[in-house]
Symmetry: C2
Subunit: 416 residues, 2 copies
Amino acid sequence: MGLIVHKYGGTSMGSTERIKNVAKRVAKWHDAGKRIIVVPSAMSGETNRLIALAQEIMPQPDQRELDMITSTGEQVSIGLLSMALMALGKEAISFTGWQVPVLTDSSHTRARIQSIDAKRVMSALDEGKVVIIAGFQGIDDKGDITTLGRGGSDTSAVAIAAAMKADECLIYTDVDGVYTTDPRVVSEARRLKKITFEEMLEMASQGSKVLQTRSVEFSGNYQVPTRVLSSLTDPLMPLEEEAVSGTLITFEEDAEMEQTVISGIAFSRDEAKIMVIGVPDKPGIAFKILGAIADANIEVDMIIQNQSVAGITDFTFTVPRADYERAIAVLNTKVKGEINAKDIVGDNRVSKVSAIGVGMRSHVGVASKMFETLYQEGINILMISTSEIKISILIDEKYTELAVRALHKAFELDKV
Amino acid sequence: MGLIVHKYGGTSMGSTERIKNVAKRVAKWHDAGKRIIVVPSAMSGETNRLIALAQEIMPQPDQRELDMITSTGEQVSIGLLSMALMALGKEAISFTGWQVPVLTDSSHTRARIQSIDAKRVMSALDEGKVVIIAGFQGIDDKGDITTLGRGGSDTSAVAIAAAMKADECLIYTDVDGVYTTDPRVVSEARRLKKITFEEMLEMASQGSKVLQTRSVEFSGNYQVPTRVLSSLTDPLMPLEEEAVSGTLITFEEDAEMEQTVISGIAFSRDEAKIMVIGVPDKPGIAFKILGAIADANIEVDMIIQNQSVAGITDFTFTVPRADYERAIAVLNTKVKGEINAKDIVGDNRVSKVSAIGVGMRSHVGVASKMFETLYQEGINILMISTSEIKISILIDEKYTELAVRALHKAFELDKV
């Protein structure tokens, strides 16, 4: 008898009416003889409400206490969903993160899952119950409540599916799958029936918001077949149809998939570029610059260092847009003088566009086609970074839609 | 260095501004060198909001899942109060019921505390931290969250004070102490500086809503000096003044107190009277009637059985008004036929008025003075029940205020 993990986001859990719909869908799967674990998010708006309350008290909330507060959103959800299933005549039981327990490290508000104890959950499943587990949360070895960061319920669901050796993890969301690019930008964007784990990982980390990057990592590390599908369909639609809908994240590159070079175009406006100008080109400079940024807990994405001229070079990198001002301040106060840089300049109106596909490995000319397409549209490339299965370029933000549409067409993603 | 437990109700925790005021008050006590544990309730309205959500899903909510949901109200409160203390520069840490842990039985929504582990709390106090513990909640031996029932935070506070061997438990509330009777009914009502534990227990169980009955039981069983005082005063008022304000619940009947015969008049409109008419006066009848009521989980308070005439008698008792209809139905369907009763009649417009005082023990004539006073006001007594330190009478509800005022005056409670 198959074990399936369902995950529902905040929108799907947004009202008691919607929770009843989730229960109908879950009951349908249980009726079909599946063992079901459900991982819901907090009701939409609830996490923000709780954070706002905390910030009224303490503008920079203490992280342990913030986790104490925000973890209640999911705790309410699991109780409500469990009751909604009981109201349909199902046996159900809810567990918080600490009741499972889902053991994490102690990095409050962005903890990482270390292990999941399957015992209590398995025993409830054996009794025929639908098991509801709070997403987004865990417990550390001190017995304190932790949370996994925004979107952490996806990670919870995939990690639980891995720990329980589930047959599939179904991520129900308000879109019906993973698209070749954002359909709001390119109307010809197509839903992918399958995508490899590596491509999905790049899509997520390059700006596609369908799945949280860390949940994709989990899915890959533990080889959990994961499907992204819509929670907006009729909850009583035929199960055979629902079971093959959406986009499946797979671990094999099958024959069908090898035919395409590029699977999708991702983009992110959450970018800012910083240039440290006129620094001596000698060992230790990159470390001094990026070390100070890392100490300030700011993540760096793309990095380039120009060819040096007369022993002097420029050093350029990107940071999340929200950290831009802080990064500039850190460089001016802690770095500029020490490394004797001429100037610190930046631009927070840039965006990153990425072409992603495992087919890239065996095809030459992907990069040149990308650059040519952008050249023809008159779009200047500010930075480039590549990996085995993706090419990312940084451009002026105002060209974002133009670049995405042109690349989507150039790589024939609108064609099946 | 003294250990003090503070308890704050939902009104005191009603907004982030009020929580900041609570923090100021707590910080003042900590500054004075006290070790402080704070037990807050949920923000006012929050528990009702959560119950309403649950009932939208399941009109008779599953009790385990309801506890899962309602316990989050206090969990949010402790996080917010902990942060408010940090914002004042104090070290603070919050614990849920299961983190302490506060071990209870498994009677969800009305659990009883069995034991409290002092270890983690004591260690945080030793580090100089203010410790905030969620009221109203605990954990059972299966690892499930339980709650103690309405007003359970009072019980939590007193039980924690007992377990931690605190010097005093301060119950901060929206009244400034225990009064000789409800000041809204009798304007001459006086605040008592002291009240014995036994009197307080009778006051609480006879209708005074200042403290939950179970919390008074705990206070008595573990001899925890407990003080009821106002949270509406200036949080920065001098500590020496605040420390002796309100009403202290004591365990000795000191000289001062023996002078008064009656300490207070309590009353409750939450009463209904039921008569089983024309039953054979033989052994087992009372059991058959009250057994059926107990099986329906309805509490019985006053009980009388009339003198039998020709082997036939009437049996009368009172139940909480909310259970009246259900009790009548139980008797009609399950009892009437079996015991061959002539009729089941009742009245849910009755109230109970009680005169309470340890001085009653050594004074004759308290009952006769009470009956005479009511006779002079033309109030008919429907039932009487007595204990060593209280006399309760059941009367027509419309005479409640009249009876309370007359008795307050007759026993000279308006005079210091």
